[in-house]
């Protein structure tokens, strides 16, 4: 029984991390409709920023969020303006090629500036745990989980009750009609990208206490973020959160009871099955949003 519970708890905590990384992508993907293959590199950038703030100035990763959030927001807005906007009206393939190129560029720039060393932060709480009924819960992972939950709630209220949020949701539904309705679409793209990048950056900063950063760390996160967003359904924040948890738990159970070597294969398999049954994702906005980014 202990083993099941521990695997479940570990899975939920892991899923929280996945959800945190994916939230930003949901916002960007949903609004700007771009398949950003450099998403993982944004995580990598935030992780490095957090690392250097700690290594050079002794800033605690949780405090460095105060700096990381605005920096990543501006980076995201700049990314949208400089890289995405010029190719907004081109084909999906073009956008994919461009972001893949940016991803490679960022990886290799990181390699040039910061070398290939594997960098970690060792804080007093990096390996701290609390024990509840024989189940060990890693504190930094719990913090990431809690932040994911809080982010979802904040974003949910923002999207539902503010006028900016409503404009963003209108763009997700149909951007041409939104434009006709008077929504300044390009300005909102900047906002969405900035906001999405800031949340992703938050994820990266919270990952640092228990992760290692190196130039190519982004790749796994990119793939995962897409799986979570697509499985959860575009436009649904709660969908992203629940899909993240689902993937985390499947990975944990698959790894613990089948084989650690197959854990990714298992959740990818379930992902494919889920999409076959419900292409718009578990909590998606209904039919019509399945081919996002490709139309």
């Amino acid at each position: 029984m202990d083993l099941w519970l521990q695997a479940l708890v570990s899975g939920l905590l892991l899923g929280g991390v996945y959800a945190l990384i994916a939230i930003g992508l949901n916002l960007i993907f949903g609004v700007v409709r771009i398949i950003n293959f450099a998403h993982g590199e944004i995580v990598m950038l935030a992780m490095y920023l957090t690392y250097w703030l700690h290594d050079l100035y002794g800033v605690d990763p949780y405090l460095s969020v105060v700096i990381v959030l605005p920096v990543m927001f501006f980076f995201g807005a700049a990314f949208q303006r400089v890289i995405v906007q010029p190719i907004q009206s081109t084909s999906a393939i073009m956008k994919i090629f461009t972001t893949v190129g940016v991803s490679l560029l960022m990886q290799n720039l990181a390699l040039i500036f910061w070398k290939g060393d594997f960098r970690t932060i060792n804080t007093s709480y990096s390996m701290s745990t609390i024990e509840v009924f024989n189940i060990m819960i890693s504190i930094p992972r719990l913090v990431a989980f809690g932040t994911a939950l809080a982010s979802i709630v904040v974003l949910y209220f923002f999207l539902k009750y503010t006028s900016v949020g409503k404009a963003l949701r209108a763009i997700v539904e149909d951007n041409s009609v939104a434009r006709l309705m008077g929504v300044k679409v390009e300005k909102h793209y900047l906002l969405a990208f900035g906001l999405g990048t800031a949340f992703t950056g938050l994820g990266g900063a919270l990952l640092m206490p228990f992760s290692t950063v190196y130039p190519t760390v982004g790749f796994t996160y990119t793939l995962l973020a897409f799986v979570v967003v697509v499985l959860g359904g575009l436009g649904s924040m709660s969908g992203t959160f629940l899909a993240g948890l689902f993937i985390g738990v499947v990975e944990s159970f698959g790894g613990t009871f089948v084989s650690p070597a197959l854990k990714e294969a298992i959740y990818f398999g379930i992902f494919i099955l889920a999409l076959l049954v419900r292409p718009q994702g578990l909590f998606g906005m209904g039919k019509g949003t399945e081919e996002v980014g490709l139309k």
């Binding site: 892991l14 970690t120 854990k263």
Partner: protein, 405 residues
């Protein structure tokens, strides 16, 4: 017509000018060098290349090889596909007749396959997968220890020191293996299983996992269930750290015994702090080792610091440095001739005893091209330093009991 003639004359002259003015005073000897210099393996690929570069600079200063200055024709084997294409490029386009490399087993397997097909001698100086010298290629050579050598030193130490420490007979010892699932991890894990069986030690579980996982708690949970006395870890940098961190968090009782890779890196000790204290590791020669057993080691370290402004980041540079010097000695014997049969004759004629190179290795190639005098040593993390504790001839300290997490 006149204009065409003028252009042709200018073109011809521009070809001749560099030739006329640039006749080199010394001959050069070109050797292909394939290492991962970008991508995920860049850190240790570069560290490995630093070793061969220092060997080159040192030997060139001493007059070069067979009167010629050594020049490397470099290739970047960042991925397995690149390993194949770079080997092709070096051989077909750059006319290289001998290649050294490659740090990573997967890259070596791919590149040396290409070289073997074209009859080009390939000297591996750092990759450990057993199959590298197990394919029956007469042009394949390796100077460094194999996965089997790493496991052999490890198992000898487990049976000879660890089991008595735990007051158990080898047949009562329970061992688990947690390994990353590429050529390196799989090869070492297979060697470890085999040697454990021969020694009578029970292997209670084997857990393969992907090195770039962000969570290894399933591995730790399975290890907890299997309840071994010791866990043999075969990991790269980030997973070695993650495995130990999560073992500590989830209270895995059995200590982890590293087998090179990430367990030998400074980043391991830095990330884990006191949790890394006492962890054993079987690997190539590291720097806290008896210098009398490794003549030239101290000189290498000061050369490294002088050129790169920092101490060596891992034992890979040392291993590649020693390997490159062996290659240069072979070329000295053949007078710079890179014909496979001449290389074969010269290589097989080398007979250097243990304790006579900067890594403490000897040199004696077996029929399959593997250096039979390159053992691994056992190190232990002490106060943030990787200290050699076994065998006695190379040790600088006595091994201390490993603490449970």
């Amino acid at each position: 017509m006149k204009r065409i003639a003028l252009v042709l004359v200018l073109f011809a002259v521009s070809w001749l000018l560099p030739m006329g003015g640039g006749v080199c005073a010394s001959k050069t000897l070109e050797i292909g060098a394939l290492f991962p210099l970008s991508g995920s393996l860049a850190l240790l690929g570069e560290e490995s290349f630093r070793g061969v570069e220092l060997a080159r600079l040192q030997r060139n200063k001493a007059g070069g090889v067979a009167g010629a200055q050594i020049v490397y024709v470099q290739g970047d084997v960042s991925t397995v596909e690149a390993a194949r294409s770079e080997a092709e490029r070096l051989i077909e386009q750059k006319n290289v007749h001998l290649i050294i490399g490659s740090y990573a087993s997967s890259r070596c397997m791919a590149a040396s396959e290409v070289a073997a097909r074209k009859g080009i001698p390939y000297f591996e100086l750092g990759a450990v997968a057993n199959e590298i010298t197990g394919r029956g290629y007469k042009t394949m050579w390796r100077t460094n220890p194999t996965a089997l050598d790493l496991s052999r030193a490890q198992m000898d130490f487990i049976v000879g020191w660890l089991a008595p420490q735990l007051k158990k007979k080898p047949s009562d010892m329970k061992l688990s293996i947690a390994h990353e699932d590429s050529d390196y991890g799989t090869s070492v894990a297979a060697s470890c299983s085999r040697l454990a069986k021969e020694a009578g030690v029970q292997v209670v579980s084997v857990e393969p996992y992907a090195a770039n996982s962000s969570d290894l708690s399933p591995v730790i949970l399975r290890l907890r269930e299997a309840n071994p006395d010791i866990v043999v870890g075969v990991s790269y940098a980030q997973d070695a750290i993650l495995l130990s961190r999560q073992a500590h968090e989830l209270k895995l009782k059995a200590p982890i015994f590293g087998t090179g890779g990430g367990h030998s890196l400074r980043s391991f000790a830095e990330a884990l702090g006191p949790v890394a204290e006492g962890v054993f590791d079987s690997d190539f020669t590291q720097y806290a080792v008896n210098p009398d057993f490794c003549p030239g080691l101290l000189e290498f370290v000061s050369l490294y610091k002088e050129k790169y402004g920092e101490p060596p980041r891992s034992g890979h540079s040392l291993a590649n440095y020693v390997g490159a010097l062996v290659v240069f000695d072979i070329l000295e014997k053949t007078g710079g001739n890179m014909d496979p049969d001449a290389i074969h004759k010269a290589a097989m004629s080398l007979d250097i005893p243990l304790g006579k190179t900067a890594a403490g290795w000897g040199v004696k190639f077996g029929e399959n091209g593997q250096n039979t005098r390159a053992p691994a040593f056992i190190m232990q993390w002490r106060g943030g330093n990787l200290v050699t504790v076994w065998p006695k001839s190379a040790a600088v300290a006595e091994p201390e009991p490993a603490k449970a997490q």
